[in-house]
């Protein structure tokens, strides 16, 4: 502690590598543009100037899965679209997370029938579920911040496979 005070004057901070990596991941997490249905409108509203998601690091949305960190599945996923979602998820490079936005992506929502996948976690592993039909922009931001807290708690030993 005494060392840190002296180092602070010189402009040096000491921390753990895990914390540094997680901090840098959460501060600039660019989601993949995956608005499928009505939740996409609320996602756009959350990204726009009134409820700004750029404050939380989601500066812009990437259209390409190869350049994005989290995937916000916004909207109902139909059975025809399900293999496409899986393929896009596979194309995302590690580290990747998934936010299932809205009721349809979490559990099938109001659509309990043959054509809609009952919850996108039948196809891809989901980290954060945001409830709402559609969730307000503040609710989506709360979901994003919950994802950040999850990322901040990640340890290297959990990420190593095998």
């Amino acid at each position: 502690m005494g060392v840190e005070e002296k180092l602070g004057d010189m402009g040096i901070v000491t921390t753990k590598l895990e914390e540094l990596v997680n901090w840098s991941r959460t501060n600039a997490m660019w989601p993949m543009l995956f608005g499928l249905a009505c939740c996409a409108i609320e996602m756009m509203a959350a990204q726009a100037s009134h409820y700004d998601m750029s404050r939380f690091g989601m500066e812009l949305m990437r259209a390409s899965p190869r350049q994005s960190d989290p995937m916000i599945v916004a909207g109902r996923v139909s059975r025809k679209m399900a293999p496409v979602v899986r393929r896009l998820y596979d194309q995302m490079p590690e580290p990747k997370w998934v936010i299932a936005m809205g009721d349809c992506a979490s559990c099938g929502g109001v659509f309990n029938n043959y054509a809609i996948v009952q919850g996108v976690d039948e196809i891809i592993p989901v980290d954060v579920f945001v409830a709402g039909c559609p969730p307000r922009p503040e609710a989506l931001i709360h979901g994003v911040v919950t994802l950040y807290e999850k990322v901040k708690g990640e340890k290297f030993k959990d990420l190593v496979k095998g």
Partner: protein, 170 residues
């Protein structure tokens, strides 16, 4: 019915020996499946029904013959009238000649009816499924198709449904 429609409906009745039903000021004309292309061509060319507003089908399930009615809703913008043509189709091997040559827009409408009801349109240039995935079996809008209902998870049956749900591992 509208005065302008009377002549048109009379012409249809003479040429195709079709029956009519009226409801308020709507007219439904029943045409047999083999005559439909001629009827549509006549309406489009002679009586100026330029627009095929809607094309759909109805399933009267417990009846076998006819089981489906394929419904064509034609509008004339010049005369401001609409008429509805119904084609009764049998339940086993339902086939109707395609209307694509008469109205281009019937292309996707017929694909939708073929996908959802299983009515085959002879001579259709692109007979693929349009709404369901390509390898889907079954025709969802028939009356004897199951809802595809998934049991809702409440607290008392949460665990048993949880075991059955196909979660993605990775």
């Amino acid at each position: 019915m509208d005065k302008k429609l009377e002549k048109i409906v009379q012409a249809l009745q003479e040429n195709f020996s079709s029956s009519i039903e009226e409801f308020r000021d709507e007219v439904h004309v029943f045409v047999k499946a083999e005559q439909i292309v001629d009827a549509l061509t006549l309406l489009r060319d002679k009586y100026e029904f330029e627009l095929l507003s809607a094309m759909t089908a109805v399933d009267y399930h417990p009846q076998v013959s006819p089981r489906y009615h394929v419904v064509y809703q034609l509008s004339s913008l010049a005369k401001n009238v609409t008429v509805q043509i119904r084609v009764p189709v049998n339940g086993d091997q339902p086939k109707v000649p395609t209307a694509t040559r008469v109205y281009e827009v019937a292309n996707w409408r017929e694909r939708e009816i073929a996908d959802m009801f299983g009515v085959e349109f002879e001579g259709h240039p692109d007979p693929r499924r349009i709404l369901m995935p390509v390898d889907w079996e079954g025709h969802p809008l028939r009356k004897d198709y199951p809802l595809g209902y998934e049991e809702p998870q409440f607290t008392f049956n949460f665990d048993e449904i949880d075991l059955r749900k196909p979660y993605a591992k990775e």
